[in-house]
Amino acid sequence: MSLNEVLQPMSLPAWLVALPLLAAGLSVVMPRCSVWTAFFSAITTPFLVVCLGREIFFHGSIEIHVGGWQTPLGISLYADGLSTAMLGVTALVFGIVTFYARPYFSGHAVARHFWPLWLFLWSALNALFLSADIFNLYVTLELLGLSAVALVALSQTGDALTAAMRYLLVSLTGSLMYLMGVAFLYAANGTLSLKMLAIVGPASPSVVTAFALMAAGLIMKSALFPMHFWLPPAHANAPAPVSAVLSALVVKASFYILVRLWVMLFEPSIPAIVAQLLGILGMAAIIWGSVQALLAERLKLLVAYSTVAQIGYLFLVFPLSLLPQVGKTAWQGGLYFLFSHACAKSAVFLAAGTVIHTFGHDRINELHGIVRRLPVSMFAFGLAGVSLIGLPPSGGFIAKWLYLNASLSGGQWWWGVLIILGGLMSTAYIFRFFSRAFSHSEEIVGERPAPRGMEWTAFTLALCSLILGLIPGSVIKMLEIGNPF
């Protein structure tokens, strides 16, 4: 059987779920080979995503019916431009961070448990982005949440364990709320398929309640202000590769579900004031997260609070997309934000992990002149910072540009003011760290040299966030496929 026969276009989504899951199972059964199963996954999954991307680019979106059962009875997997782009970012970040994690964990006893959990997290994300069934999404959310919690707890310090516990409680409560919403939707419509639910009529109280429950659960999981309290400790105390994917992808996964539900089911039947409310929460998140990042004393905590702020930007998409004629621009801006933040933030977390690996701590005030020891990591930090601030030519700039466009031509200029203000604040907290890192000071002695692989992986991700700023046309064209918005 040739490779072309095995990788038929219609089987690509199934392979994307099955392969990491198989690798995860194998790494449990054969712990000695777990690194190699992870590497195998890190090479094959991006390849599969590229195949899928090429397929849908030329032939349009794909829907497959698992088990051959048509939708109301069975589950369908759906790959349009949006889900393929999410899969692509996941494959990019996971693929690169896997090569960072290898030196990071080498020789540690926890590596044995890290690799299976890592692969489970990856398969959960792939399954989540492909799923077109609201109950199947619940199962993927649980798979995602439990593996993320276990990964946070991996370093076994008191703070990490407490953070993991808090994360677990929030995550489980969020899943329960979501499941209750699923129950309402199923009772009202008799189907679980996202596409078939899409034809719901005018808003009945049960539909509104279902939306409220699901949105509440997903907001808890994606740490929108004021449900952000669990995120900074969890992301700051996790091992660096874990923090990178948690900030880059895991919080975005629940945001992605919310976007899908909003666009496919709820937008016509939910009053516009709800979107304004989500936007206001996003605004509060931007301000609160930025202020906390300015006050943070530890580098990883700074980066984690910056994630709280950046999640705020994502939620601005809800009010902006309702403005007349600029809806599409707003969605493109929001998703561009998501992608460029995924690359930039994972790069920053990896660089911060390298700092800790080298100096044994991440207290910002004691990190004077570290650029001489870690030039590549600091350069990566800087490149990613450009994207986080939103300076050209970076993915962050394109995202903010699209947002500004939407808010000004849609007539709600105050969101634009907020975006510029947020950019200024992120400049402040990034330069607060840089002023130390690049300062002249007495020679500091690192405890141990940083492996080159750790430095260059961070750099690669930072470069990706920059490259995103150079190819907006093709990314936006990709997002159009299947007309998700």
């Binding site: 109950f135 439990l146 707890a153 364990l161 516990m165 677990l168 409560t173 499941l179 209750m180 679980l192």
Partner: protein, 102 residues
């Protein structure tokens, strides 16, 4: 009021009581207990609605969903309890709020 509706209301009650317990208790094991009660409430709600079908047999799809949910719940509970035990061992306390920075 029909019987399935009554059970659905009990499910709502259990969910809300569990959420109340989750917020009120600071002891971790109690929080986990409360979450389990909430979960039972959601499951009961789902199956009670499935029993409202016009025909004699209830809808099997919610039954399968709840079976899945029960297994997921026991996995999550095991993980949560393992974490709680480890927190007790490392921090010497089982209350999250005690653990704020001093």
């Amino acid at each position: 009021m029909t019987v399935p509706n009554m059970y659905a209301l009990v499910g709502v009650g259990l969910l809300c009581m569990g959420l109340y317990g989750l917020v009120m208790h600071s002891h971790l094991v109690r929080k986990i207990l409360a979450l389990n009660v909430s979960g039972s409430g959601v499951f009961l709600f789902l199956v009670a609605l499935a029993d409202q079908t016009p025909g004699p047999t209830p809808d099997p799809v919610p039954h399968a969903m709840v079976l899945t949910g029960i297994v997921v719940a026991v996995s999550a509970t095991a993980l949560a309890l393992a974490l709680a035990c480890r927190i007790q061992q490392v921090n010497g306390t089982l209350r999250l709020s005690d653990n704020e920075p001093e």
